[in-house]
Symmetry: C2
Subunit: 339 residues, 2 copies
C-alpha cells in the first residue's frame, strides 16, 4: 500500500506543509458580521470599481492571492503552482485570475468544498516533492452566484428559511515545504453522497450526509476522536445541515456538541443580517479558514482543527432535468504541532 | 528545491506511474473517422438510450471509467481517487458520474486540457506515495457542448472554417504505482497565455500560444529535443492552431515538422466529415490518447510521446462581457521505457 495512506480515505503527510501566508477579502455584508475583525480587507462596495459582478470577483480573488503571497514575504515568481476554483461556469473567476499571475495553474471544481480540495492537492504536491510553495484559493460573489444559480437579483425573489446566502469574498493560502506552522497533517478526501434531495434551497440538507461520511471516516482512519480537536468545522451546512450532522453523528457514537461549528453559521448573524440558514459559497470557508481559524491558531487559542468543506455538485441544468443534488465533503487537519 | 522539480515548470517522476488500463467510448461520427479502429466502443446513437444529451454524456463517462477499471483487472474498490472533469457548467458530467462509483473524487476544470491535468495530478499523487491506483477521465458531447457554448442545435447556425467540432466521447486511464508501462515520466504544467483573441470560433488560434509556451518550456526543462520523441501531439488546436505552432516553434529553433500532429486533426477527416478545423472538446484528447496513442505504444510503434492538451478557459459570460480567451496547455511524457 502507498506509504502515506492510512485507512480507506485518509493520507498522512510525512513532511506536513506549513501555512506561511493567508489573506482574506470580503464584501460589506461579511464585514458587518461576527467575524469582521478577522478579515484583511473589507470592501465598501462589492463592485470594487469594476463594471460587472464577475469582474469584481476576479479582482477580489486576484488581490487575495497577491495578498497571501506578500504576507509570506514572497513574490509570484516564488510560487510553483496555483490550485484554485470557484462557482462560476467554467470556473472563469479562477482562470481570469490565474491569467494575471504567470504561475502554472490547476483549475478545480468542488463547489463550496473547493478551498479544501485545493489545500488537499496542494499539500500532496508539496509533501510529494513536486513543489516548495503553492498557493490555494477560492472565491465567491453573492451577486454573480445568485444570478447564475437562482434568479436575477432584480426579480427580488423571496428566499425560504432553509436557503443560504452566498458569501462575497476570497481567501488564499500559501503553503510551503518549510515553515513554523500551522501545518496540514491529514487529508480525508470525500466520496459523493446523494440522498435524493432536489430542493436547491436546502443545500445544507443535501450536503450533510457527505459531511457525516467524511468526518466519520476521518475518525476511523486516523484514530482521532472528537475530543482530540479544539474545533471541528464544516463549511457550509448552515443551520439545517448542522442540526443533521449533530444528530446523526451522535447516533453513530460521536458527540460533537462541545466543539462543532459551521463556517456558514459563524460568518453571519442570521437574525440581524437576514441570512436565513447561514452563509455559503466557495468564499465562505475560504475566508473563515484564512481569517478566523488561521489567526486563532497563530494566537494558540486553537491548536488542532478539522476543516470539512462541503460542496453541492449539481448544476442548474441537472436540477431542471429532475436530478437530485450530489454532495461531497473534503477534510483536512490543521495542527499547530507536528510529531 | 523540491527534489522532483527540474527547470521552471516540469517535474520528473522518480517512480513513474504505469498506465494499466485504458478505455474509450465515442459517438457515431467519431466512429466513422480515421481512428475508428482504435476505440473500444462506437455508439450507434449518441443519446445511448438516455433522455437528454447531458445524461448520455454521464453514461458515456461512467462506462468509460468502468471499462478502464475492468481492463486493469480491478474493481472500483481498488481505486483510491478519481480525477475527472468535463466542459459542462459545474462539471456536472463528472460529478454525476463519480456519484455512481463510490470512489474519493477530485473534480477538475481545464476545458480541453482536462485529460492531461487529471493525469498530471493523478501521477503526482501516486509518485508522492498517496495512492496506488487512480483513474483519470474526461468526456465531452457534441450536443451538450454546442447548446451550452454556442447555439441550440435547432438553430442550424453556420460554422466558420476556423471552428472546431466537439467530440462526443470519453476516455479513462487507470494508472498505478506498479505495472509494465507505458509510463508517465515527466509533467510540464502550463501557465495561462492570452494574446487577446476574442473569436470563440477560433479556439485554435487562442490556444496556440499556450501550446508553444508549454512545449518550449518542456524542452528547456528536460533537455529533450523534438527528435527525442516519436510523436508530439497537441489536443486540440485543429488546422489553424497547428499551423501557428509549426511556424512559431520553427522560429524558436524547434523543427516539429517530422513528428508533430494534433488530436483534433487526427480524429476526423475534415473534408469528408465537414468538421472544418478539426475536433475539440475534453473527449478528443481523451479518446486519442487512450485509443490511438496507448494502443500504438503497446504495439511499440510509438515509444515516447509528448501529449500536450490545450484548453480555452473562457466562459460564455466572459465573452459576452468583452473578455478575450485565456489558453492553457498541460503536457506529459508517456514513455515505454524508464531509466
Amino acid at each position: 500500500m502507498a506509504e502515506k495512506r492510512i485507512g480507506l480515505q485518509t493520507v498522512k503527510l510525512l513532511n506536513p506543509p506549513s501555512i506561511i501566508g493567508a489573506y482574506t477579502i470580503v464584501g460589506p455584508k461579511e464585514g458587518e458580521g461576527p467575524l469582521k475583525d478577522y478579515f484583511d480587507v473589507v470592501l465598501e462596495d462589492d463592485m470594487w470599481g469594476q463594471e460587472s459582478f464577475e469582474k469584481s470577483e476576479v479582482k477580489i480573488q486576484e488581490e487575495a492571492i497577491k495578498g497571501a503571497i506578500l504576507k509570506a514575504n514572497l513574490s509570484p515568481n516564488d510560487i510553483q503552482y496555483i490550485f484554485s476554483g470557484d462557482l462560476l461556469n467554467q470556473i472563469s473567476t479562477s482562470s481570469y485570475t490565474a491569467r494575471q499571475l504567470n504561475i502554472a495553474y490547476f483549475g478545480l471544481y468542488g463547489a463550496c468544498s473547493t478551498m479544501i480540495e485545493s489545500l488537499s492537492l496542494g499539500s500532496m504536491v508539496i509533501d510529494g516533492g513536486f513543489a516548495d510553495k503553492v498557493v490555494c484559493a477560492t472565491s465567491s460573489h453573492f451577486s454573480s452566484a445568485e444570478r447564475q444559480f437562482r434568479f436575477p437579483l432584480e426579480y427580488g425573489s423571496q428566499r425560504p428559511f432553509s436557503s443560504q446566502w452566498t458569501v462575497t469574498g476570497a481567501g488564499a493560502t500559501v503553503i510551503s515545504s518549510s515553515g513554523n506552522g500551522p501545518y496540514i497533517t491529514y487529508i480525508t478526501t470525500g466520496k459523493i453522497m446523494d440522498f435524493g434531495i432536489k430542493d436547491t434551497n436546502n443545500m445544507g440538507g443535501a450536503m450533510a450526509p457527505a459531511a457525516i461520511d467524511t468526518i466519520s471516516q476521518h475518525f476511523k482512519d486516523t484514530g482521532y476522536t472528537p475530543d482530540d480537536y479544539d474545533l471541528i468545522i464544516t463549511g457550509d451546512l448552515g443551520l439545517v445541515g448542522k442540526k443533521i450532522v449533530l444528530e446523526l453523528m451522535k447516533k453513530s457514537g460521536y458527540d460533537l456538541s462541545k466543539n462543532y461549528s459551521d463556517c456558514g453559521i459563524k460568518i453571519f448573524d442570521g437574525v440581524e443580517q437576514d441570512t436565513h440558514a447561514g452563509g455559503s459559497g466557495c468564499g465562505c470557508v475560504a475566508v473563515v479558514l484564512n481569517g478566523y481559524i488561521y489567526k486563532e491558531m497563530l494566537k494558540k487559542n486553537l491548536n488542532r482543527v478539522l476543516v470539512v468543506a462541503t460542496g453541492a455538485l449539481h448544476s442548474p441544468i441537472t436540477v431542471l432535468q429532475g436530478e437530485s443534488i450530489p454532495g461531497i465533503a473534503h477534510a483536512i487537519t490543521v495542527d499547530n504541532l507536528i510529531d
